[in-house]
């Protein structure tokens, strides 16, 4: 009886819901709705770029966006400061074919959209997709449009690193504008150390690896901890490579750092002769207890758990360590001095360590072949710079908040280019404001926020500001160290200065050979000398293909 009732109910519900959802599907959905602007060619206005088209132009795009963008006062994706700004100031109506909230499926969805053959006018893609699109002739040559309609400030982005825009050219024609990101200042990694413990020992300068080991053992004895907290992916242990003059990249992402050897051939960092020195030390550290005896069991969370619990004195990490572990460390240890500060890596011979810098660009803004108004794409890009980075732009406090608060600075999506000098300039202004107390020169949202957060920690010991403070709030902070390295050119750039060559696709998971072998060597299961064989296996499994390809494209004699 019951099952019959259930089925009848199911039938009734289906009918009801069919009716309902048929209605629901026709309620206006702002995203994906085709706009009212024209999609035919409209002559761009002469003169200054910041002028509206004579007729409203429609531009279709797609975007992936963090789920943290907050809209206020009844605004939404189709009605906000950016949308209105584009519409009123530029005469451009932007509509989204889709938005991937959470930004997890962007590449996937983009690829499928491309496969349907119906491309958005302007969108953002990575180098793999970029190459495929160029090969298929799906992109527009924007050489002239860029020349004519990109504003001078955006063109000046090129100066920071002239090579970046070249990666968007094929046969001398420009097919896209690089995002540029925040520049190389956020690239170098540091040896973070517990501030309270370090100062207790009189803040000794760590010049050599020996200095470091001595301090590590002192702290280990005194505080019953081990030395360096790392995860079993080697992402963090590999950051200590520069201590031994090898630069390694992140094995977890299958990415390598490349260097030129004495014969002028570009090779992967893991093929550097000194890598065996690093292995010798790492194996020793494992024996000595500087590395946790349990490190192969440690996930990313476990690694940070040990830091927070005071089970480790050091952590090799990025410049944002203060956000990752700062507040938790202070809370768990119950002391306002219990956090980590960044130190430059010591080196084996006491020489100056170099900051490792990877190629900073990953995504490109491209224009579809079928887009009738490519100039509009340039204007939209200019507009992002205009609002976000141009110091001469005057915005009211209200406008300022409207554009940038609540992560709304990420609304532009495809048009979101970033001044590669932004973080450097920001840091200089923030540190100066903190030291002088004069806040008049904080002109971007980022500056104001980082300054405010840093002061929150300095004045109120509110740990919410610790991340910003450790990144740029005092002499000795992460960016202070980065600036020192960059200003003095103590920098090791990867010699693959651009995206990985296409030939990398012909290799499969070759990094496994290294990571598995390295873990065995560190744990003492195999001797260090076995590494020659491991490396030979790596070459045979695809390393050779990569090395040849990198030399083919990046070894300009």
């Amino acid at each position: 009886m019951k099952a019959r009732k259930l089925v009848s109910m199911a039938l009734a519900l289906i009918m009801l819901l069919t009716a309902c959802s048929a209605l629901a599907d026709f309620t206006p959905v702002p995203v994906g709705e085709r706009g009212t602007g024209t999609r035919e060619y409209v002559e761009p206005p002469e003169g200054d770029w910041l002028q509206p088209y004579s007729e409203i132009v429609n531009i279709r795009t797609v975007k992936g966006q963090g789920s943290d963008v907050v809209f206020e006062n009844g605004e939404d994706q189709s009605n906000n400061y950016w949308i209105r700004g584009w519409y009123n100031d530029l005469g451009i109506e932007v509509t989204y074919d889709w938005i991937d909230e959470g930004n997890t499926q962007y590449t996937q969805k983009l690829n499928m959209t491309i496969a349907t053959g119906d491309l958005p006018d302007v969108f953002r893609c990575n180098y793999v997709t970029f190459r495929q699109l160029v090969k298929a002739g799906a992109l527009q040559d924007i050489t002239e449009v860029y020349e004519k309609y990109a504003c001078q400030r955006v063109k000046d982005y090129e100066k920071t690193d002239p090579d970046t825009i070249k990666t968007c050219m094929v046969d001398g024609k420009l097919y896209g504008v690089p995002i540029y990101y925040y520049g190389v200042i956020d690239n170098p990694r540091y040896m973070w150390v517990r501030k309270d413990w370090y100062e207790e020992e009189g803040s000794p300068e760590l010049k050599t690896v020996e200095d470091f080991e001595k301090l590590a053992h002192t702290l280990m004895e005194k505080h019953g901890c081990y030395g360096i907290s790392i995860a079993n992916t080697f992402e963090h242990l590999f950051m200590t490579g520069p201590m031994f003059n090898v630069y390694l990249g992140n094995p977890d992402q299958g990415s390598y750092y490349w260097y030129k050897d004495a014969d002028g051939r570009i090779k992967a960092g893991i093929a550097h002769p000194e890598f065996k020195t690093a292995l010798t030390y790492w194996a020793k550290w494992y024996q000595d207890g500087i590395l946790s005896p349990d490190f192969v069991n440690k996930t990313f969370d476990d690694m940070n758990e040990d830091v927070v619990n005071g089970k480790a004195a050091f952590q090799p990490y990025y410049q944002w360590q203060g956000w990752q572990n700062g507040p938790n460390l202070v809370a768990a240890q119950g002391s306002n001095d219990a956090y980590m500060i960044p130190l430059q890596f010591p080196t084996i011979d006491g020489s100056q360590v170099l900051g490792q810098v990877g190629f900073p660009n990953a995504d490109i803004v491209v224009v579809s072949k079928d887009c009738k108004n490519p100039a509009a794409a340039m204007k939209l890009i200019n507009y992002t710079d205009h609002i976000m980075f141009d110091p001469s732009t005057v915005l009211t406090e209200e406008e300022f908040k409207g554009f940038t608060d609540g992560q709304r600075e990420h609304i532009p999506g495809a048009f979101e280019v970033i001044d590669p000098q932004a973080d450097m300039i920001q840091f200089e202004h923030v540190l100066k404001a903190i030291e002088t107390g004069d806040t008049s020169e904080l002109f971007t949202s980022g500056m104001k926020k980082k300054y405010g957060d840093s002061m929150m920690w300095i004045n109120e010991k509110n740990t919410g500001g610790l991340g910003a403070y450790l990144q740029q709030g005092f002499e000795g902070c992460a960016y202070y160290n980065a600036k020192y390295l960059l200003d003095n050119n103590y920098v090791k750039k990867t010699d693959m200065w651009g995206p990985p060559p296409e030939e990398f696709d012909e290799t499969v998971n070759t990094i496994d050979i290294i990571t598995t072998g390295v873990s065995e060597i560190i744990m003492g299961i195999r001797p260090v000398d076995d590494y020659d064989q491991i490396l030979a296996d790596w070459y045979a499994a695809g390393g050779q293909i990569m090395e040849d390809a990198v030399n083919k494209y990046y070894n300009v004699q």
Partner: protein, 295 residues
């Protein structure tokens, strides 16, 4: 009916103890997760939380529920489940019944069985699937989430085997009484099949409730994400957010972190299942076969 010997009594006691221990081992992780979801992140990051929340806070839940998106996503998930489970059940019944017949009664049976088994093994992948959805105009529609797997073959096969295992007399008796196929299915088979329908219905519900990937793939507008897709978007890029400059997130991090966020996400997603499950379960524990033949 049950006369008890001493051996049986001992067996019963031992059995109870064993079952209880197993259940306990299944329960502890969920309690641990519950405790984490209500704890302050500093205790969680320090790995101190076991079975009781430390630094009690509901921040992780507020984070997920705070805006209207949660309830909208919840509504869409309910809509999807009702539609999806109803369609699945109907399709499974109307598919399993003919296929439960022998080849004598339904000569084309093996062909159709093969037709379904094949789909269990081979698929065309995401790209053509997406293109199909687009061409059918189903992108951004709830139908993209409920139509594609309308006949879940595994569950259908389970149901079909249940039908086969029913005593033949039931149907034969009805057939002699002059009942047609639809009548037999409707008034004889369905009542008998309640426990197995409840089983496959539950599986179908759990599938539709938990799947987040199709939502992320086929919904163009985040306002149309079902609950699990929405919850997924909240956390997948939590760590990446840290890397970005200038974020309002940092003050939030004092009150919740990735682990507490995930834990609360689990419970927000689990509640409806825990509500539905005991309701469905009622049907599992009642054997009905003989009742219907006699009655």
């Amino acid at each position: 009916m049950h006369f008890r010997t001493r051996g049986q009594k001992i067996f019963n006691v031992v059995n109870y103890i064993l079952v209880t221990l197993v259940c306990l081992s299944c329960l502890l992780p969920i309690i641990n997760t519950l405790a984490i979801s209500f704890s302050a992140p500093s205790y969680v990051a320090a790995g101190q939380v076991y079975f009781w929340p430390l630094g009690f806070t509901t921040q992780s839940y507020e984070f997920a529920i705070s805006n209207g998106k949660f309830f909208r996503a919840f509504g869409i998930a309910i809509e999807r489940c009702v539609l999806g489970v109803s369609i699945n059940l109907l399709m499974m019944i109307t598919t399993a019944y003919p296929l439960s017949k022998s080849k004598d009664k339904f000569p084309s049976r093996n062909f159709f069985m093969g037709f379904y088994v094949f789909t269990m093994l081979f698929g065309g992948g995401l790209v053509p699937w997406y293109i199909l959805m687009r061409n059918l105009g189903l992108l951004n529609s709830i139908w993209a989430l409920v139509l594609p797997l309308s006949v879940p073959v595994s569950s259908m096969a389970i149901l079909m085997n249940f039908m086969r295992s029913l005593p033949q007399e039931i149907e034969e008796a009805a057939a002699i009484d002059g009942a047609g196929n639809f009548r037999i299915l409707w008034s004889i088979m369905l009542p008998v099949l309640t426990p197995s329908l409840a089983t496959v219905g539950l599986f179908s519900f759990v599938y539709h409730w938990n799947d987040w990937f199709q939502g992320a793939l086929f919904m163009n507008n985040p306002n149309r994400y079902p609950l699990q897709t929405y919850l997924q978007t909240l956390l997948t890029n939590f760590r990446d957010l840290l890397r970005q400059s200038g974020s309002d997130y940092y003050s939030l991090l004092q009150r919740m972190n990735e682990q507490t966020g995930r834990a609360s996400q689990l419970f927000l997603g689990l509640v409806p299942i825990l509500v539905v499950y005991p309701f469905v379960q009622k049907y599992f524990t009642t054997g009905l076969v003989m009742g219907s033949v006699k009655g």
